[in-house]
Every structure is written in C-alpha cells, then in structure tokens.
Amino acid sequence: MTIELFSQLLLNGLSIGLIYVLVASGLILLLGVVRIFNFAHGEFYMLGAFITFGCCEFLHLNFFVSIAIAIVLVTILSLFCYRFIFHYIRGDILLCTAASIGLSMMLLRGALLSFGTQERGLHPPFKGSVGIGQVNLPAEKVMAILLCIGVMFGLYWLLMRTKVGKAMRAVKLDNEVASLQGINTTRIYQIAFAAGCALAALAGGIMAPVFSITPSMGHSLLLNCFMALVVGGMQSMLGGVVGGLVVGLVLSFGMYFVGDLSEILLFAVIGVIIVFKPGGLFGEPEHHE
C-alpha cells in the first residue's frame, strides 16, 4: 500500500469519524445531563445540512455564515421541542426515548414531503487540495477535520472550564443535590439540550459540501453514531471520541479492502468489543436500570 493511498483512506476515515464524534458527543451530552436518548438527533443533523445548503445556494451567503444560521435555527427549534415535549416527561428515560422517536418520524417525513428524495450537493467552498509532502489531500475534507477538532476542544473548554459546564457536570452526577446548591436545573437542561442539537446541526453544516444531502441522511448517520456509542461507552465524552474515530476508520479502511462487507466487518469489531467490555471501551455497564 502506498503512502498516498494510506493517507487518503486515513483522511476519509478521520473526516467521517470526526462527524460521528460530533454527533455522538451531542448524544452523550443529552443522555448524561438531560437523560434523553435522542432518536431525533439525526434529523437535527439533516436540518443543519439543509439549512446550510439553502443559505449557500439560494441566498449566496458565505459558507461559515450559513453554518452559523443553521446552528441558530436548529437551536431555536430544539428549544421549542424541549419546552413543548421533553419538559413534561424529563427524568423518565423510556418515555423520552419514545417521544424522540415520534419527533424523529415527524421531522423525517416532513423533510421528505417538503424537500423530495432527490440528492443535492453543495459546491465545496474551498477548491483545490492541500499538499503535505508528496501527498495531495482535498481541501474540504482537511477543513472539515480541522473544524471538528476545533469544536471538540471548544466543547471540552465549555464543560471543564466554565461555570455552565461545571453546573452541567453537577446535574449529571445528581440533579437533586445540584438544585440544592442553587443550580437552576431546568435552565441547565435547556442549555444542554440546545448544545447537543447545535452540535448535530454543526456537523450537518460541515458535511454539506462533502456528502450528498438527502432527507434520510440523518437516519443512517445516527445508526453509525449508536455504534460509536456502543464501541466507546456512554458515560464519558472520551468514549464518544474514541468510538466515533474507530467506527469511521473501520468503515473507511474496510470499504477499500473488503468492499461491501465493511459494515459486517464493523459489526464483527463491535461484537468482539462488547464480548470483552459489555459497557464499551470507556464505560462501565449499568448493572441495575
């Protein structure tokens, strides 16, 4: 295998893996802080991609401005969803899961009816390629990777260094004790829900020039993110990062070496991991639910 090919596969795996990392981090944030296992996350990702596409193509806005608009709109939508659906059933993880399935069905079918099934593609905002040594890499993928890494560091800073992040971690540990300490848990739930959905919208915006945009793009992505959660574990962000990268790299290298069987290869990897670590690489299994 040449260094050229290897770096291409690595780049593909990293760019798709980092998208999984973004979406999976949002899922872990929702699961840990708000106790919602959000099936509608893929639809927020899809909406982010569509809004970015619309702003770029029809309003002729700058790519980054379009992503910002997409994040703001999806955040507003997610806050509405939180206020009118999840606010009433918070704490009960099964009911929240069921409600998010209903939300996902509505958003997916609504998008199918309004956007149709044809595939759309956004012109890459950066043309040409980046040369590192004798290897040429497409610029939009390098940009996607750099953006994702930047966002993950931003998220780390938010959770670890700011007051809001501290409050989120406190609510995750025990929401009753946290509210005794004067933390407004409802506000923290809203912030965490909006942040998780904003991450999904951001991922959709970043991926808009790389992949084709269809209403069902979120659904297939979400299933891969679930696999990332199983690989990495659901308790910590680190699990999401490692899981997302593993899934992305296995899919990318598997697609080249074994073709269509790459998904089955991924399932085999997951099977081996959960046989030895039932809760994922960086998680403990919850023994009592």
């Binding site: 209903g102 996902s104 069905m105 079918r109 659901m234 299994p285």
Partner: protein
C-alpha cells in the same frame, strides 16, 4: 391479581375469541381479512416486546428475530423441502437458539446499552439477509409455498390462513399468560420493579432476563414463520429497525403495564386506523409520530390506563397525583 380480574379476563378472552372466530361469516372482503391477519401478526410481535419489557428490558430488535423466523421457515421449505408444519416449530427453535447466543453477549449490559445493542443486532441481521445469496440477497426470496394442506383444508385463501394465525395467536397469548402467572413471571416483575432488590432476594437477573429474551424471540419467530408462508415473498428491508420501532409503538399505545391486552389494542389501532381513515402512506408517519408524542405526554400509561385514570372500575378515583406516582402505582398492580 385477584380472582375477579382473572374471571373478567377469561370472559373477555372468550368473547373476543367467539367474535373473531365468527368474523369470516360476516365479511367477504379480502382486504379486510388481510388487515385482520396482519393485525394478528403485529399483536404477536407486540407481545414479544412486552415480555421483554416485563423483565425490565427494552428491545429495539424484535423485527430482526421476526426475520430469522421467516427466513428459517422459508429456507427449510424451499431448499430442504420440508413441510410447513415441520418448518414452523423448527423456525421458532432456530430463533430461540440465535436469541440464546445473542443474549449471552448483550444482556450483560441492561439499560440504554441494551436498546442500542438490540438495534445493532437487528441491523446486522438485515445486512446478513441482504448480503448473502443463500438468503436471496437484497431482492429477497420469492414464491414461498403456502402452508401444506391438511386433508381437505387448503391454505391458499384468506379464511384458512386467518384461522391458522388466530390459533397461533391464542396459543401465544395463553402460553405467555401462563408464564406471567408462574414463578418466572413473578421473578420478571420483581426485576422490573427493583432489579437491585430482586438480586438481593437471590433472583438471578441474568438468567431470568435471558429466559425472557429467548421466549419472546421464539414468539416473534413463530409469527415470522407464518408471515413468510402467508405473504409468500420475503425481502430484507421488511425486517429493519423501523419495524422494530413500530413494534415498540404497539405496546406503548396500548399500555406498557398491560403485557397482554396492551399490544392487542395498540397493534389493532396502528394497523386499522390509518387504513380506515384512508390516510396516505406519505403522511401516516407524521400522524403516528404526533400521536406517540401526545400519548407519552398526556397518557404515559397507554390507552388501557384511561379507565383507571378517569376512575372507572375503582372505588375512589386516583388522587390527582403527579405522573411519576401514578406510573408507580400502576406498576404495582398488574392487570390481567
């Protein structure tokens, strides 16, 4: 469960059986009979979901095990040339074996991890059915023969198939009812109420959950075997995660705490109402989603909890307690 409610349950079951048994004499619409047959299959799938729920597990992979039953039965008949009546129990057995192996791996991580892992198992099964030519590939299996005739009875029309699925459903309901009232069923409800406490009372969580997983999967496999020979074509995407989500909705709609009547009511509504209202396939998921959200917010106990909520059948209406408390109260009294 007191004697009165058991008596009521038996009367309800008898009446329902009588009405359903006489149904073909009142209608000759093939479309209506098809809907009824599909309802019966969906009820069997919903019962399988509810059985796992009674042991405190939420599955998103019921459709995958349904598919195993369907494919096993179809392949045994098509490739090995067995009779349907031999293939059907073998299909249920094969599903149970797969569930045993899968369960050994995934039941160790209950909770949210179990939801995701059952979903992944379902996706693996769809991929396996689609990828390998042995299973017919993505185009699916075609021309699966109808069940072999017994004497003068042939299973080519709707009516004979209807009586067959009705028998299967009845056997399924009675077997599950017997399990719920047995020692195993009591262990399951103990696990669901408080797993930690149940474990201190030396209830083996892993073993009882594995039993629930195997038996519920065998029920789904039985439904799959009938479905393969009734529908006569199989395609991998019939058994994808969307179907599993619908199966979950049957149980939630009817009422999660009503292990047997819940899926019956829920599956009947989800199968019939969109067809009767002539709602197009395009907007049906939007309405189903909206109903699911409204139900979860306003009536988390399902449709069957409505009489309880309104205070029928109880001496005094339930105090206007918060949602959490009433859910717990309902968990403590299992109906039927």
């Amino acid at each position: 469960m007191n004697r009165g409610s058991r008596k009521k349950g038996i009367i309800a079951l008898g009446c329902a059986c009588l009405i359903l048994a006489l149904l073909p004499f009142f209608t000759d619409s093939r479309y209506f009979m098809h809907l009824i047959i599909m309802t019966c299959i969906n009820i069997m799938l919903g019962l399988s979901f509810s059985m796992l729920f009674s042991a405190g597990l939420v599955t998103m992979g019921a459709a995958g095990f349904w598919g195993i039953g369907a494919y096993t039965s179809a392949l045994l008949v098509l490739k090995a040339g067995l009779s349907f009546w031999v293939a059907m129990p073998l299909a249920a057995l094969a599903t149970a074996c797969v569930a045993f192996i899968v369960g050994l791996v995934i039941i160790r991580a209950p909770g949210v991890a179990f939801i995701i892992q059952t979903m992944i198992v379902n996706m693996i099964l769809v991929q396996v059915f689609g990828h390998f030519e042995f299973f017919g590939g993505w185009a699916g299996l075609l021309d699966i023969p109808a069940p072999n005739p017994i004497g003068p009875i042939t299973f080519t029309g709707k009516t004979a198939n209807y009586y067959l699925i009705l028998m299967l459903l009845l056997v399924n309901i009675l077997a599950f009812y017997a399990l719920y009232t047995s020692r195993i069923g009591r262990a399951w409800s103990a696990i669901r109420l408080n797993a930690r406490l149940a474990e201190t009372l030396s209830v083996d969580l892993f073993r009882y959950r594995l039993v629930a997983f195997i038996i519920s999967s065998a029920g789904a496999g039985l439904a799959g075997s009938f479905y393969a020979h009734y529908f006569q074509t199989l395609e991998p995407n019939m058994f994808n995660v969307f179907k599993s989500i619908y199966i979950q909705i049957y149980s939630i709609l009817g009422g999660l705490n009503f292990y047997i009547p819940g899926p019956v009511i829920g599956a009947a509504i989800i199968t019939f109402v969109p067809e009767l209202l002539r709602i197009g396939k395009e907007i049906e998921p939007i309405l189903t989603g909206a109903v699911l959200i409204l139900l979860v917010i306003f009536l988390p106990g399902g449709i069957l909890s409505l009489p309880d909520r309104l205070g029928f059948f109880t001496k005094e209406p339930l105090a206007a307690s918060s949602g959490k408390n009433s859910v717990q109260e309902q968990q403590e009294k299992r109906v039927l």
